[in-house]
Symmetry: C2
Subunit: 247 residues, 2 copies
DNA sequence: GTAATAGTGTCTTTAAGACACTATGTA
DNA sequence: TACATAGTGTCTTAAAGACACTATTAC
Protein backbone atom coordinates (compact mmCIF):
# COMPACT_ATOMS: atom_id res chain seq x y z
CA UNK A 1 0.00 0.00 0.00
CA UNK A 2 2.60 2.51 1.09
CA UNK A 3 4.74 1.39 -1.80
CA UNK A 4 1.84 1.57 -4.20
CA UNK A 5 0.94 5.00 -2.96
CA UNK A 6 4.53 6.11 -3.32
CA UNK A 7 4.68 4.96 -6.90
CA UNK A 8 1.36 6.43 -7.76
CA UNK A 9 2.46 9.78 -6.43
CA UNK A 10 4.98 10.03 -9.23
CA UNK A 11 3.07 8.34 -12.00
CA UNK A 12 -0.69 8.79 -11.88
CA UNK A 13 -1.04 6.55 -14.92
CA UNK A 14 0.60 3.57 -13.26
CA UNK A 15 -2.67 1.97 -12.28
CA UNK A 16 -5.86 1.37 -14.18
CA UNK A 17 -8.42 3.66 -12.64
CA UNK A 18 -12.16 3.25 -12.39
CA UNK A 19 -14.60 5.80 -13.69
CA UNK A 20 -16.57 7.68 -11.07
CA UNK A 21 -20.12 8.88 -11.48
CA UNK A 22 -22.68 10.62 -9.32
CA UNK A 23 -26.25 9.32 -9.43
CA UNK A 24 -29.20 11.17 -7.95
CA UNK A 25 -32.32 9.91 -6.25
CA UNK A 26 -34.76 12.78 -6.70
CA UNK A 27 -37.58 12.36 -4.21
CA UNK A 28 -40.84 14.18 -3.76
CA UNK A 29 -44.39 13.78 -2.59
CA UNK A 30 -47.31 13.99 -4.99
CA UNK A 31 -50.86 13.04 -4.04
CA UNK A 32 -49.67 11.85 -0.66
CA UNK A 33 -47.31 9.36 -2.32
CA UNK A 34 -43.53 9.25 -2.21
CA UNK A 35 -42.17 9.36 -5.76
CA UNK A 36 -38.84 9.36 -7.55
CA UNK A 37 -37.80 10.88 -10.86
CA UNK A 38 -36.45 8.35 -13.35
CA UNK A 39 -35.05 8.70 -16.84
CA UNK A 40 -35.54 6.20 -19.61
CA UNK A 41 -32.27 4.93 -21.09
CA UNK A 42 -32.02 5.37 -24.85
CA UNK A 43 -28.77 3.45 -25.33
CA UNK A 44 -27.19 0.18 -24.43
CA UNK A 45 -26.53 -1.13 -21.88
CA UNK A 46 -29.85 -1.40 -20.09
CA UNK A 47 -31.56 0.18 -23.07
CA UNK A 48 -35.22 0.83 -22.38
CA UNK A 49 -34.78 0.40 -18.65
CA UNK A 50 -35.21 3.19 -16.17
CA UNK A 51 -32.27 4.84 -14.49
CA UNK A 52 -31.44 7.54 -11.98
CA UNK A 53 -30.20 10.82 -13.42
CA UNK A 54 -26.43 10.84 -13.21
CA UNK A 55 -23.17 11.90 -14.75
CA UNK A 56 -19.47 11.25 -14.71
CA UNK A 57 -17.50 13.33 -12.25
CA UNK A 58 -15.13 15.70 -13.98
CA UNK A 59 -11.50 15.50 -12.94
CA UNK A 60 -11.52 18.79 -11.05
CA UNK A 61 -15.09 18.74 -9.86
CA UNK A 62 -16.26 18.06 -6.31
CA UNK A 63 -18.80 15.32 -5.70
CA UNK A 64 -21.52 17.59 -4.43
CA UNK A 65 -20.77 20.05 -7.23
CA UNK A 66 -21.36 17.24 -9.70
CA UNK A 67 -24.64 16.44 -7.99
CA UNK A 68 -25.79 20.06 -8.23
CA UNK A 69 -24.74 20.18 -11.88
CA UNK A 70 -26.92 17.15 -12.58
CA UNK A 71 -29.80 18.75 -10.70
CA UNK A 72 -29.51 21.85 -12.84
CA UNK A 73 -28.90 20.08 -16.14
CA UNK A 74 -31.05 17.00 -16.00
CA UNK A 75 -33.94 18.22 -14.03
CA UNK A 76 -33.57 21.97 -14.52
CA UNK A 77 -33.64 22.39 -10.78
CA UNK A 78 -31.70 25.47 -9.83
CA UNK A 79 -33.42 26.46 -6.63
CA UNK A 80 -31.82 25.42 -3.37
CA UNK A 81 -32.89 21.90 -2.45
CA UNK A 82 -31.89 19.45 0.27
CA UNK A 83 -29.07 17.26 -1.01
CA UNK A 84 -27.18 14.61 0.93
CA UNK A 85 -24.65 11.96 0.06
CA UNK A 86 -26.19 8.53 0.38
CA UNK A 87 -23.77 5.68 -0.27
CA UNK A 88 -21.13 4.63 -2.76
CA UNK A 89 -21.81 1.62 -4.95
CA UNK A 90 -18.77 -0.03 -6.45
CA UNK A 91 -19.36 -3.68 -7.29
CA UNK A 92 -16.88 -4.47 -10.10
CA UNK A 93 -19.58 -5.71 -12.49
CA UNK A 94 -22.36 -3.26 -11.70
CA UNK A 95 -21.96 -1.74 -15.17
CA UNK A 96 -21.17 -4.13 -18.04
CA UNK A 97 -19.15 -1.56 -19.97
CA UNK A 98 -16.35 -0.93 -17.53
CA UNK A 99 -15.58 -0.37 -13.92
CA UNK A 100 -17.80 2.44 -12.71
CA UNK A 101 -18.03 3.46 -9.10
CA UNK A 102 -21.00 5.66 -8.37
CA UNK A 103 -21.43 8.01 -5.45
CA UNK A 104 -25.18 8.20 -4.88
CA UNK A 105 -26.87 11.33 -3.52
CA UNK A 106 -30.49 11.95 -2.75
CA UNK A 107 -32.38 15.20 -3.05
CA UNK A 108 -35.68 16.21 -1.47
CA UNK A 109 -37.88 18.34 -3.71
CA UNK A 110 -41.02 20.29 -2.85
CA UNK A 111 -43.93 19.15 -4.96
CA UNK A 112 -44.02 22.34 -7.03
CA UNK A 113 -40.39 21.99 -8.08
CA UNK A 114 -40.83 18.32 -8.83
CA UNK A 115 -43.77 18.74 -11.16
CA UNK A 116 -42.10 21.72 -12.79
CA UNK A 117 -39.04 19.58 -13.57
CA UNK A 118 -41.32 16.91 -14.94
CA UNK A 119 -43.01 19.36 -17.29
CA UNK A 120 -39.71 20.53 -18.76
CA UNK A 121 -38.35 17.11 -19.72
CA UNK A 122 -40.25 14.53 -21.70
CA UNK A 123 -38.04 11.55 -20.95
CA UNK A 124 -38.53 11.79 -17.20
CA UNK A 125 -41.18 9.85 -15.35
CA UNK A 126 -42.45 10.32 -11.83
CA UNK A 127 -42.56 6.83 -10.38
CA UNK A 128 -44.33 5.62 -7.26
CA UNK A 129 -42.04 4.02 -4.71
CA UNK A 130 -43.69 0.91 -3.32
CA UNK A 131 -42.11 -0.67 -0.24
CA UNK A 132 -42.96 -2.48 2.96
CA UNK A 133 -43.72 -0.22 5.93
CA UNK A 134 -40.91 -1.74 7.97
CA UNK A 135 -38.36 0.63 9.39
CA UNK A 136 -35.60 -1.90 9.97
CA UNK A 137 -34.51 -2.92 6.51
CA UNK A 138 -36.07 -1.79 3.28
CA UNK A 139 -34.99 -4.86 1.38
CA UNK A 140 -36.40 -4.06 -2.02
CA UNK A 141 -38.54 -1.40 -3.58
CA UNK A 142 -40.74 -1.43 -6.64
CA UNK A 143 -41.06 1.56 -8.92
CA UNK A 144 -44.40 1.97 -10.65
CA UNK A 145 -45.37 4.33 -13.41
CA UNK A 146 -48.52 6.49 -13.16
CA UNK A 147 -50.61 3.63 -14.58
CA UNK A 148 -49.36 1.21 -11.96
CA UNK A 149 -46.99 -0.79 -14.16
CA UNK A 150 -43.72 -1.87 -12.58
CA UNK A 151 -40.71 -0.18 -14.16
CA UNK A 152 -37.60 -2.26 -14.83
CA UNK A 153 -34.59 -0.52 -13.37
CA UNK A 154 -31.12 -0.25 -14.87
CA UNK A 155 -27.98 -1.54 -13.14
CA UNK A 156 -28.22 -1.55 -9.34
CA UNK A 157 -30.45 1.50 -9.24
CA UNK A 158 -33.13 -0.40 -7.35
CA UNK A 159 -30.66 -0.93 -4.51
CA UNK A 160 -29.80 2.75 -4.57
CA UNK A 161 -33.43 3.81 -4.26
CA UNK A 162 -34.00 1.29 -1.47
CA UNK A 163 -31.01 2.73 0.37
CA UNK A 164 -32.41 6.24 -0.06
CA UNK A 165 -35.76 5.23 1.38
CA UNK A 166 -34.05 3.54 4.31
CA UNK A 167 -32.01 6.66 5.02
CA UNK A 168 -35.05 8.89 4.76
CA UNK A 169 -37.06 6.75 7.16
CA UNK A 170 -34.18 6.54 9.58
CA UNK A 171 -33.59 10.28 9.72
CA UNK A 172 -37.20 11.37 9.69
CA UNK A 173 -37.84 11.64 13.42
CA UNK A 174 -34.58 13.14 14.54
CA UNK A 175 -33.69 15.43 11.66
CA UNK A 176 -35.78 18.25 10.16
CA UNK A 177 -35.91 16.82 6.66
CA UNK A 178 -39.64 16.53 6.00
CA UNK A 179 -39.76 20.30 5.52
CA UNK A 180 -37.59 19.97 2.44
CA UNK A 181 -40.53 18.22 0.77
CA UNK A 182 -43.04 20.95 1.59
CA UNK A 183 -43.57 24.52 0.45
CA UNK A 184 -42.46 27.29 2.76
CA UNK A 185 -45.82 27.42 4.54
CA UNK A 186 -47.65 24.24 5.33
CA UNK A 187 -50.32 22.90 7.65
CA UNK A 188 -49.61 20.35 10.33
CA UNK A 189 -51.86 17.94 8.44
CA UNK A 190 -49.66 18.29 5.35
CA UNK A 191 -46.57 17.66 7.47
CA UNK A 192 -48.17 14.55 8.90
CA UNK A 193 -49.06 13.38 5.40
CA UNK A 194 -45.41 13.66 4.42
CA UNK A 195 -44.33 11.60 7.41
CA UNK A 196 -46.96 8.98 6.68
CA UNK A 197 -46.00 8.75 3.02
CA UNK A 198 -42.35 8.22 3.89
CA UNK A 199 -42.95 5.73 6.68
CA UNK A 200 -45.79 3.92 4.96
CA UNK A 201 -47.82 3.91 8.18
CA UNK A 202 -50.49 6.10 9.73
CA UNK A 203 -49.66 8.22 12.77
CA UNK A 204 -51.55 9.39 15.83
CA UNK A 205 -52.69 12.97 15.31
CA UNK A 206 -52.40 14.50 18.79
CA UNK A 207 -49.09 12.78 19.45
CA UNK A 208 -47.72 13.94 16.12
CA UNK A 209 -48.76 17.54 16.74
CA UNK A 210 -47.29 17.55 20.25
CA UNK A 211 -44.05 16.08 19.04
CA UNK A 212 -43.64 18.52 16.16
CA UNK A 213 -44.42 21.54 18.30
CA UNK A 214 -42.02 20.31 21.00
CA UNK A 215 -39.10 20.01 18.61
CA UNK A 216 -39.00 23.75 18.11
CA UNK A 217 -38.53 23.12 14.41
CA UNK A 218 -41.64 25.01 13.39
CA UNK A 219 -43.44 28.22 14.23
CA UNK A 220 -46.94 29.35 13.41
CA UNK A 221 -47.42 32.13 10.92
CA UNK A 222 -50.57 34.01 11.77
CA UNK A 223 -52.04 32.97 8.44
CA UNK A 224 -54.45 30.20 7.57
CA UNK A 225 -54.84 27.84 4.69
CA UNK A 226 -57.49 29.56 2.58
CA UNK A 227 -58.96 27.89 -0.43
CA UNK A 228 -59.76 24.58 1.22
CA UNK A 229 -63.29 23.67 2.03
CA UNK A 230 -64.39 23.78 5.68
CA UNK A 231 -62.32 25.02 8.58
CA UNK A 232 -58.95 26.37 7.41
CA UNK A 233 -55.83 25.13 9.23
CA UNK A 234 -53.04 27.30 10.52
CA UNK A 235 -49.97 27.60 8.33
CA UNK A 236 -46.61 26.84 9.92
CA UNK A 237 -43.08 27.60 8.81
CA UNK A 238 -39.80 25.76 9.37
CA UNK A 239 -37.63 27.81 11.70
CA UNK A 240 -34.39 26.22 10.66
CA UNK A 241 -32.28 26.74 13.74
CA UNK A 242 -33.50 25.19 16.99
CA UNK A 243 -32.85 21.51 17.37
CA UNK A 244 -33.37 18.76 19.90
CA UNK A 245 -31.57 15.55 20.68
CA UNK A 246 -32.62 12.20 19.38
CA UNK A 247 -34.54 11.07 22.39
CA UNK B 1 -24.69 13.50 -19.50
CA UNK B 2 -26.42 11.03 -21.77
CA UNK B 3 -24.05 12.06 -24.50
CA UNK B 4 -21.07 11.81 -22.22
CA UNK B 5 -22.17 8.45 -21.02
CA UNK B 6 -22.64 7.32 -24.58
CA UNK B 7 -19.16 8.36 -25.60
CA UNK B 8 -17.59 6.89 -22.54
CA UNK B 9 -19.23 3.58 -23.23
CA UNK B 10 -17.12 3.20 -26.35
CA UNK B 11 -13.94 4.88 -25.21
CA UNK B 12 -13.18 4.52 -21.53
CA UNK B 13 -10.08 6.67 -22.00
CA UNK B 14 -12.03 9.64 -23.28
CA UNK B 15 -12.16 11.33 -19.89
CA UNK B 16 -9.55 11.92 -17.26
CA UNK B 17 -10.45 9.72 -14.36
CA UNK B 18 -9.79 10.22 -10.69
CA UNK B 19 -7.96 7.67 -8.57
CA UNK B 20 -10.07 5.91 -5.97
CA UNK B 21 -8.82 4.75 -2.60
CA UNK B 22 -10.33 3.11 0.44
CA UNK B 23 -9.31 4.48 3.85
CA UNK B 24 -10.07 2.72 7.11
CA UNK B 25 -10.93 4.08 10.53
CA UNK B 26 -9.93 1.24 12.84
CA UNK B 27 -11.65 1.78 16.16
CA UNK B 28 -11.34 0.03 19.47
CA UNK B 29 -11.58 0.53 23.20
CA UNK B 30 -8.53 0.32 25.45
CA UNK B 31 -8.57 1.35 29.10
CA UNK B 32 -12.13 2.59 28.73
CA UNK B 33 -11.05 4.99 25.99
CA UNK B 34 -12.08 5.05 22.35
CA UNK B 35 -8.98 4.81 20.16
CA UNK B 36 -8.06 4.71 16.49
CA UNK B 37 -5.11 3.10 14.73
CA UNK B 38 -3.00 5.54 12.74
CA UNK B 39 0.04 5.10 10.55
CA UNK B 40 2.89 7.54 10.28
CA UNK B 41 3.55 8.71 6.73
CA UNK B 42 7.13 8.20 5.59
CA UNK B 43 6.84 10.05 2.29
CA UNK B 44 5.64 13.30 0.87
CA UNK B 45 3.01 14.63 0.82
CA UNK B 46 2.06 15.02 4.47
CA UNK B 47 5.36 13.41 5.45
CA UNK B 48 5.57 12.84 9.19
CA UNK B 49 1.85 13.34 9.65
CA UNK B 50 -0.49 10.61 10.73
CA UNK B 51 -2.87 8.95 8.33
CA UNK B 52 -5.54 6.29 8.20
CA UNK B 53 -4.51 2.96 6.73
CA UNK B 54 -5.64 2.87 3.13
CA UNK B 55 -4.97 1.72 -0.38
CA UNK B 56 -5.89 2.30 -3.98
CA UNK B 57 -8.80 0.24 -5.23
CA UNK B 58 -7.75 -2.24 -7.89
CA UNK B 59 -9.63 -2.06 -11.15
CA UNK B 60 -11.53 -5.30 -10.61
CA UNK B 61 -11.82 -5.16 -6.85
CA UNK B 62 -14.96 -4.39 -4.86
CA UNK B 63 -14.87 -1.57 -2.33
CA UNK B 64 -15.48 -3.76 0.69
CA UNK B 65 -12.99 -6.30 -0.68
CA UNK B 66 -10.40 -3.55 -0.78
CA UNK B 67 -11.24 -2.65 2.81
CA UNK B 68 -10.78 -6.24 3.95
CA UNK B 69 -7.51 -6.47 2.05
CA UNK B 70 -6.24 -3.42 3.91
CA UNK B 71 -7.39 -4.92 7.19
CA UNK B 72 -5.44 -8.07 6.47
CA UNK B 73 -2.37 -6.40 5.03
CA UNK B 74 -1.91 -3.27 7.09
CA UNK B 75 -3.13 -4.41 10.41
CA UNK B 76 -2.80 -8.17 10.01
CA UNK B 77 -6.43 -8.50 11.01
CA UNK B 78 -7.89 -11.58 9.42
CA UNK B 79 -10.60 -12.47 11.90
CA UNK B 80 -14.13 -11.38 11.12
CA UNK B 81 -14.69 -7.82 12.28
CA UNK B 82 -17.51 -5.32 11.93
CA UNK B 83 -16.94 -3.22 8.82
CA UNK B 84 -19.22 -0.55 7.40
CA UNK B 85 -18.95 2.02 4.68
CA UNK B 86 -18.83 5.50 6.16
CA UNK B 87 -18.75 8.26 3.57
CA UNK B 88 -16.97 9.22 0.39
CA UNK B 89 -14.62 12.20 0.45
CA UNK B 90 -13.86 13.73 -2.89
CA UNK B 91 -12.86 17.37 -2.63
CA UNK B 92 -10.72 18.07 -5.71
CA UNK B 93 -7.72 19.30 -3.72
CA UNK B 94 -7.84 16.92 -0.79
CA UNK B 95 -4.61 15.31 -1.98
CA UNK B 96 -1.98 17.60 -3.51
CA UNK B 97 -0.62 14.95 -5.87
CA UNK B 98 -3.69 14.34 -7.97
CA UNK B 99 -7.41 13.85 -7.81
CA UNK B 100 -8.07 11.11 -5.30
CA UNK B 101 -11.56 10.19 -4.18
CA UNK B 102 -11.56 8.07 -1.06
CA UNK B 103 -14.33 5.79 0.11
CA UNK B 104 -13.97 5.67 3.90
CA UNK B 105 -14.94 2.61 5.93
CA UNK B 106 -14.80 2.08 9.66
CA UNK B 107 -14.11 -1.15 11.48
CA UNK B 108 -14.83 -2.04 15.09
CA UNK B 109 -12.17 -4.18 16.73
CA UNK B 110 -12.27 -6.03 20.02
CA UNK B 111 -9.47 -4.91 22.32
CA UNK B 112 -7.52 -8.15 21.97
CA UNK B 113 -7.39 -7.89 18.19
CA UNK B 114 -6.49 -4.24 18.33
CA UNK B 115 -3.51 -4.67 20.64
CA UNK B 116 -2.38 -7.71 18.68
CA UNK B 117 -2.36 -5.65 15.48
CA UNK B 118 -0.42 -2.95 17.27
CA UNK B 119 2.24 -5.44 18.41
CA UNK B 120 2.82 -6.70 14.88
CA UNK B 121 3.48 -3.33 13.25
CA UNK B 122 5.92 -0.76 14.55
CA UNK B 123 4.71 2.22 12.53
CA UNK B 124 1.17 2.06 13.91
CA UNK B 125 0.06 4.10 16.87
CA UNK B 126 -3.04 3.74 18.97
CA UNK B 127 -4.38 7.26 19.35
CA UNK B 128 -6.95 8.55 21.79
CA UNK B 129 -9.94 10.18 20.15
CA UNK B 130 -10.85 13.34 22.01
CA UNK B 131 -14.17 14.98 21.19
CA UNK B 132 -17.04 16.87 22.72
CA UNK B 133 -19.77 14.68 24.26
CA UNK B 134 -22.41 16.20 21.99
CA UNK B 135 -24.48 13.82 19.93
CA UNK B 136 -25.63 16.32 17.35
CA UNK B 137 -22.56 17.21 15.40
CA UNK B 138 -19.05 16.06 16.16
CA UNK B 139 -17.42 19.04 14.58
CA UNK B 140 -13.81 18.20 15.14
CA UNK B 141 -11.80 15.56 16.91
CA UNK B 142 -8.30 15.54 18.30
CA UNK B 143 -6.07 12.52 18.12
CA UNK B 144 -3.57 12.13 20.97
CA UNK B 145 -0.69 9.73 21.27
CA UNK B 146 -0.21 7.65 24.43
CA UNK B 147 1.72 10.52 26.04
CA UNK B 148 -1.09 12.97 25.42
CA UNK B 149 0.50 14.87 22.54
CA UNK B 150 -1.80 15.93 19.73
CA UNK B 151 -1.02 14.13 16.47
CA UNK B 152 -1.10 16.14 13.25
CA UNK B 153 -3.30 14.37 10.73
CA UNK B 154 -2.69 14.01 7.01
CA UNK B 155 -5.10 15.28 4.35
CA UNK B 156 -8.74 15.36 5.50
CA UNK B 157 -8.35 12.36 7.76
CA UNK B 158 -9.49 14.36 10.77
CA UNK B 159 -12.83 14.91 9.07
CA UNK B 160 -13.04 11.22 8.31
CA UNK B 161 -12.47 10.23 11.93
CA UNK B 162 -15.00 12.82 13.10
CA UNK B 163 -17.54 11.36 10.68
CA UNK B 164 -16.85 7.87 12.01
CA UNK B 165 -17.40 8.98 15.60
CA UNK B 166 -20.62 10.71 14.60
CA UNK B 167 -21.87 7.56 12.88
CA UNK B 168 -20.91 5.38 15.81
CA UNK B 169 -22.72 7.61 18.30
CA UNK B 170 -25.76 7.81 16.09
CA UNK B 171 -26.10 4.08 15.64
CA UNK B 172 -25.21 3.07 19.16
CA UNK B 173 -28.65 2.88 20.69
CA UNK B 174 -30.57 1.32 17.87
CA UNK B 175 -28.03 -1.05 16.35
CA UNK B 176 -26.13 -3.84 18.08
CA UNK B 177 -22.68 -2.49 17.32
CA UNK B 178 -21.11 -2.14 20.75
CA UNK B 179 -20.68 -5.92 20.85
CA UNK B 180 -18.21 -5.70 18.00
CA UNK B 181 -15.86 -3.92 20.39
CA UNK B 182 -16.06 -6.60 23.09
CA UNK B 183 -14.91 -10.19 23.42
CA UNK B 184 -17.48 -12.92 22.96
CA UNK B 185 -18.37 -12.94 26.64
CA UNK B 186 -18.64 -9.71 28.55
CA UNK B 187 -20.20 -8.26 31.67
CA UNK B 188 -22.94 -5.66 31.58
CA UNK B 189 -20.51 -3.26 33.24
CA UNK B 190 -18.05 -3.73 30.36
CA UNK B 191 -20.85 -3.11 27.88
CA UNK B 192 -21.81 0.07 29.69
CA UNK B 193 -18.16 1.17 29.69
CA UNK B 194 -18.12 0.80 25.90
CA UNK B 195 -21.25 2.91 25.53
CA UNK B 196 -19.86 5.56 27.84
CA UNK B 197 -16.54 5.69 26.01
CA UNK B 198 -18.28 6.17 22.67
CA UNK B 199 -20.79 8.74 23.88
CA UNK B 200 -18.40 10.58 26.15
CA UNK B 201 -21.01 10.70 28.91
CA UNK B 202 -21.90 8.59 31.92
CA UNK B 203 -25.08 6.52 31.90
CA UNK B 204 -27.59 5.48 34.50
CA UNK B 205 -26.87 1.91 35.59
CA UNK B 206 -30.34 0.45 36.22
CA UNK B 207 -31.76 2.09 33.11
CA UNK B 208 -28.89 0.84 31.00
CA UNK B 209 -29.30 -2.74 32.25
CA UNK B 210 -33.05 -2.70 31.68
CA UNK B 211 -32.66 -1.32 28.21
CA UNK B 212 -30.01 -3.82 27.16
CA UNK B 213 -31.94 -6.78 28.52
CA UNK B 214 -35.14 -5.54 26.83
CA UNK B 215 -33.53 -5.36 23.40
CA UNK B 216 -33.14 -9.12 23.28
CA UNK B 217 -29.65 -8.57 21.90
CA UNK B 218 -27.92 -10.41 24.72
CA UNK B 219 -28.37 -13.56 26.74
CA UNK B 220 -26.75 -14.65 29.98
CA UNK B 221 -24.27 -17.46 29.89
CA UNK B 222 -24.35 -19.26 33.20
CA UNK B 223 -20.72 -18.29 33.81
CA UNK B 224 -19.26 -15.51 35.84
CA UNK B 225 -16.34 -13.20 35.46
CA UNK B 226 -13.68 -14.93 37.56
CA UNK B 227 -10.35 -13.32 38.22
CA UNK B 228 -11.68 -9.94 39.29
CA UNK B 229 -11.60 -8.94 42.89
CA UNK B 230 -14.89 -8.91 44.83
CA UNK B 231 -18.24 -10.10 43.60
CA UNK B 232 -17.97 -11.58 40.08
CA UNK B 233 -20.43 -10.36 37.47
CA UNK B 234 -22.41 -12.55 35.11
CA UNK B 235 -21.03 -12.96 31.61
CA UNK B 236 -23.38 -12.22 28.74
CA UNK B 237 -23.18 -13.08 25.07
CA UNK B 238 -24.50 -11.28 21.96
CA UNK B 239 -27.32 -13.34 20.49
CA UNK B 240 -27.07 -11.81 17.05
CA UNK B 241 -30.59 -12.26 15.78
CA UNK B 242 -33.45 -10.61 17.74
CA UNK B 243 -33.91 -6.95 17.12
CA UNK B 244 -36.17 -4.15 18.15
CA UNK B 245 -37.35 -0.95 16.50
CA UNK B 246 -35.82 2.39 17.05
CA UNK B 247 -38.26 3.68 19.58
C1' DG C 1 -16.61 -9.33 58.94
C1' DT C 2 -15.25 -5.79 55.51
C1' DA C 3 -14.58 -3.91 51.18
C1' DA C 4 -16.11 -3.20 46.86
C1' DT C 5 -18.66 -4.08 43.12
C1' DA C 6 -23.01 -6.71 41.18
C1' DG C 7 -27.55 -6.32 40.78
C1' DT C 8 -32.60 -4.76 42.04
C1' DG C 9 -36.99 -2.15 43.80
C1' DT C 10 -39.43 1.65 43.22
C1' DC C 11 -40.70 6.42 42.78
C1' DT C 12 -40.71 10.15 39.62
C1' DT C 13 -40.71 12.12 35.11
C1' DT C 14 -41.35 12.27 30.22
C1' DA C 15 -43.46 11.22 26.14
C1' DA C 16 -46.25 8.33 23.12
C1' DG C 17 -50.91 6.00 22.02
C1' DA C 18 -55.90 6.16 22.27
C1' DC C 19 -60.08 8.38 22.00
C1' DA C 20 -63.40 11.49 22.77
C1' DC C 21 -64.27 15.94 22.84
C1' DT C 22 -64.61 21.06 21.39
C1' DA C 23 -63.74 24.73 17.71
C1' DT C 24 -64.45 26.92 13.41
C1' DG C 25 -64.63 27.72 8.78
C1' DT C 26 -67.53 26.92 4.14
C1' DA C 27 -71.61 25.86 1.97
C1' DT D 1 -77.44 25.04 10.59
C1' DA D 2 -74.93 21.01 8.92
C1' DC D 3 -70.73 19.21 7.53
C1' DA D 4 -66.14 18.09 7.66
C1' DT D 5 -61.91 18.95 9.18
C1' DA D 6 -58.87 21.65 12.76
C1' DG D 7 -57.33 21.33 17.07
C1' DT D 8 -57.31 19.94 22.30
C1' DG D 9 -58.00 17.53 27.06
C1' DT D 10 -56.97 13.75 29.38
C1' DC D 11 -56.40 8.95 30.58
C1' DT D 12 -53.42 5.14 29.93
C1' DT D 13 -49.07 2.99 28.96
C1' DA D 14 -44.08 2.53 28.19
C1' DA D 15 -39.69 3.62 29.29
C1' DA D 16 -35.92 6.55 31.09
C1' DG D 17 -33.65 8.99 35.26
C1' DA D 18 -32.65 9.00 40.14
C1' DC D 19 -31.41 6.90 44.19
C1' DA D 20 -31.36 3.92 47.70
C1' DC D 21 -31.30 -0.52 48.76
C1' DT D 22 -29.89 -5.70 48.89
C1' DA D 23 -26.63 -9.53 47.22
C1' DT D 24 -22.38 -11.77 46.70
C1' DT D 25 -17.71 -12.89 46.66
C1' DA D 26 -12.42 -12.19 47.68
C1' DC D 27 -9.69 -11.11 51.17
Amino acid sequence: MTEAEFLASYDPEAFARPSVTVDLVLLGIVDGQLKALLRRRDDYPAKGKWALPGSFVAIDEGLESAARRILAGEARIVREVYLEQLYTFGAPARDPRMRIITVAYYALLPTAILTEALDLADDLVLADIVAEPVIEQVGTVELRDPKGATLPLAFDHGDIIATALQRLRGKLDYAPIAFALLPERFTLRALQDVHEAILGTSLNKPAFRRRMLDTGWIEGTGKRDTGGAFRPAELFRYRGKARRGRR
